[in-house]
Amino acid sequence: MEERSRIVLLAAAVRLAIAPFFMHAGDVGTIYESSIMTLKGLNIYDFVYAKTIQMQNATGLPVFFEGYAYHPLLIYFFAPFYWLFTVIAGTGPVMIDGHYPSVPVLIYPWTPLLLVMLKIPIILADLLVVYLLAGMDTRKAKIYAFCPYVIFIGVVWGMFDALVGLFLLASYLVSSRNNFLSGLFYGLSLLKLYTVVLLPLYVIRLFGRWKAFAEFMGGLTLTLLPVAYYLVVSPVSVWNVLVTFQGTRLMGGVNLYNFIWIVQDLPFDLAVSMIPNIFLVIALYYLITKFGRKAPLLESILAIMFAYFLFGKVINEQFLVSIFPLILLSRECDYRVWVAPFVFIFLRSPFYYFMLPILWTSPVFYGYYLQADDVWRQLQAVGYLQIPMYAVGVTFSLLIFWNLIRVVDATRGVIVSATEVSEPN
């Protein structure tokens, strides 16, 4: 068996062995709930918006229900697998009330099967990334295939940033050969919206090459049709969920901004959360005008995504997966940057966020779970966890900054030498 296939099969085996037993209740719960609604033909955005209005009315605060706030296409990656699950297990409830802080009720024996089914798109995305990387460098493919961080995000938590990573990688790989496909894959990478910061880069690179530009935009537009449909069908809901919620989120995550979590004053927090936006716009403008057209595409994408990781308001633990394949392809970047978000997971997440199903199988395990969760909450309440969380957040931002500087320096060198070649005198 050739090594490429062996790596892919091993990566699949590791993931399938873990997938049935763990989950992030909030995110898997959202996908489960949204898959059910999609199969019933219900409007997911109307549901999320209604919940938000209900919460805002009850609390008098600008709070949002954290449900399905993604590209409409995303759910169509999962809903077919949920449908397959219902063919086997029926349509009875398997996970009841999984939204934080409610602890979900899980129905056995179907929970492990549901988890495997809902994680299949993520596992397939991971395997395709491994396959593509192995075609270029088997060492890099192995790093991705067996990186504890990537495995944790995909099959322990069940988060789908691997899909974003796959499509971003694909968009980059085909960009020199097929602009339509590049645009299509880039459009699909918007499943989680944050790669939208790359759009000005693609536009400026293709600006003036009108045929290539039209092809790229054609591919991209195709993926945006579902958004347009929902904007026509329920404009208020879609605007609230995709724009207002995502645009006015409270800053924080694995970054230098998570200090805001200890400032318990939501209107103030939201006002301060606008500060990084200003720097993000400045950084994007600088990087795109300085390097956008001249620098290699890989380094340009990474530089912009690094700028987003530095000045984007919300950088959750899983976001790095989306650019991890590209980081592996770049000679300038240090891929070990994954360690920081991986450590952060264990500092930030209550027990509610992982290990659930395996501990839910017996009242004894469940008792242990509740005791452990209680200890975690006490540590959280007195503020012991906030200090290492902040330290890790700042460290991650600095590591990203270091990588950004390396990419920019190297790119500057490429641009200078290219200019010297074209202008020998």
């Binding site: 318990q264 700042v394 931002s397």
Partner: protein, 273 residues
């Protein structure tokens, strides 16, 4: 560029401290998914615990000798309180609105709307229940634990005890961590129909108050005094002071690694070549 960025990190790390000292005092602040808090020189009040919806409100006292410490004084529990025989937590629609000084919590059912107003001053915290119609109330106020209530200690009773109805309830408590004793008092605006105290191991953990009225206010106050010499203790309220230190430390380590790490690497490379 590096200098600008590390200055940015350090500057932002002071935001919690600036907020805490300049903006957070003596006004209601909302956060999370519907929690509210109020802090003044003497009291810290939490309303609607973000984890489980308890604490409505939970009044803490800040001892003069340890201002950052938040010592539980009294918790009003919606989980275990009833208005017109309906549980406050589960059987009412609740909406919260805050002005800087007053938190207005409206409990509504088809037949009645009852407001719970929470107001704090430097002397006390006033919790008022008010409706346009008369209502029956069974309120439960918790603390783990009160060593005595209106002069009655755990030595006097091992069973729940109905005490003489009164508009003034005084209790004492201890805090081992701060080696201190505390006093609390609850002043009622009208005579209740029944007051009952509930023993639990080393003291009383609950006071239940029953009344029929269209308005009742409970004015809660408390104070603490050190008995021994309390050792310095960590508290959540100290976090705003710690984060700038963390930021400076991490940034300094980064700068050291970038500077000397590269020099060390260059030396190692030269030696090996």
């Amino acid at each position: 560029m590096t200098v600008y960025f590390v200055v940015y990190i350090v500057a932002l790390s002071f935001v919690p401290l600036i907020h805490d000292t300049l903006l957070a005092q003596s006004r209601w602040l909302g956060y999370g998914t519907g929690a509210y808090q109020y802090q003044n020189q003497n009291y810290f009040i939490l309303f609607n615990d973000p984890y489980d919806g308890s604490s409505k409100p939970h009044i803490h006292v800040n001892p003069g000798f340890a201002p950052a410490a938040r010592i539980s004084l009294l918790e009003f529990s919606d989980w275990t309180s009833w208005l017109n025989d309906h549980n406050l937590f589960n059987e009412f629609n609740v909406t919260i609105r805050a002005s800087p000084q007053v938190l207005d919590v409206a409990y509504s059912r088809p037949e009645i709307v009852i407001h719970k107003y929470v107001e704090a001053s430097s002397e006390s915290v006033k919790v008022t229940l008010q409706s346009e119609k008369e209502f029956t109330a069974h309120l439960e106020l918790w603390r783990w634990v009160m060593t005595s209530i209106n002069g009655i200690s755990i030595a006097d009773t091992t069973k729940p005890l109905v005490i003489t109805p009164t508009t003034l309830i005084e209790f004492t408590f201890e805090d081992e961590r701060l080696q201190s004793v505390g006093r609390g008092r609850i002043l009622l605006s009208a005579m209740p129909s029944q007051v009952e105290i509930w023993p639990h191991e080393k003291g009383f953990n609950r006071i239940t108050i029953d009344f029929v009225n269209s308005m009742m206010s409970l004015t809660v106050s408390g104070s603490m005094e050190a008995v021994g010499t309390p050792s310095p203790t960590w508290n959540y309220a100290l976090l705003p002071y710690v984060l700038p230190i963390v930021a400076v430390t991490v940034v300094a380590l980064y700068l050291l690694v970038v500077k000397y790490g590269r020099t060390f690497k260059n030396r190692a490379t030269r030696r090996s070549s």
